[in-house]
Symmetry: C2
Subunit: 137 residues, 2 copies
């Protein structure tokens, strides 16, 4: 049994008033881990596909803070597609999930929070290796 939560979509709180809107997530509520790294993906040309790997141990939390993007999630048994659109929807992705992103809107900005700092050896870049590690081959 994995010691981390499963893939999950979070509907995040949004506070709207006359000064604008604010959305948030925090550890212990909507954010299942403490963040050591973030990255943002932007200016993705139409038709491009990003991602296409899994992680051995890193947990991630994806929020499309501007525009929209489709995320494909694959646990080695089945695939699901999830539309991320705006700051109010967060997607938790545990380790050993193959994930790709596609269909970025021209203005899309995808924020990814990561539970660990960057380690190239921690990536699974071969789908065959992923299937072996996920125990589903």
């Amino acid at each position: 049994m994995p010691s981390v939560p499963s893939v999950r979509v979070y509907d995040l709180p949004v506070i709207r008033d006359s000064r604008g809107s604010l959305s948030y997530a925090e550890y212990g509520k909507d954010l299942p881990f403490i963040t050591k790294r973030y990255f943002v993906v932007f200016d993705v040309p139409a038709g491009e596909v990003r991602g296409g790997h899994a992680h051995k141990s890193v947990e991630q939390f994806l929020v499309c803070v501007k525009g929209s993007v489709w995320v494909t999630i694959d646990d080695g048994r089945q695939q699901i597609q999830i539309l991320l659109e705006g700051p109010a929807r967060g997607l938790y992705v545990p380790p050993l999930i193959w994930s790709t992103q596609h269909g970025h809107s021209p203005d899309a900005v995808l924020l990814v929070l990561s539970s660990e700092t960057y380690d190239a050896d921690e990536y699974i870049r071969s789908y065959e290796e992923f299937k072996n590690l996920a125990g589903t081959e």
Copy 2:
């Protein structure tokens, strides 16, 4: 002497290729703390001013991941104004700094990473109290 770094602007790495652009920061490099909370501010009407408080102990890292916003930083002795525009510029704001944001572009999305979860008692909302705590009155 404070045990935290001073206000600092970070020029963050950006990786650009045919699939789009990616910018990042991580703890131990460009990010001086581990993040327990984030929030995003968006859809701010023209002319609005946000912020207008300081924190007793929370550290923050501001990145305007889309559009632009002006940030005013006040340490009780002097004020400086900093333009945040795009994911490649991060602003570290330590505790006991009075900060406001204004001049948001219509598409601005301001990401704020925070070293602690939300605690209303941790905010300093009176400028007079801030001046007392900052030891400059």
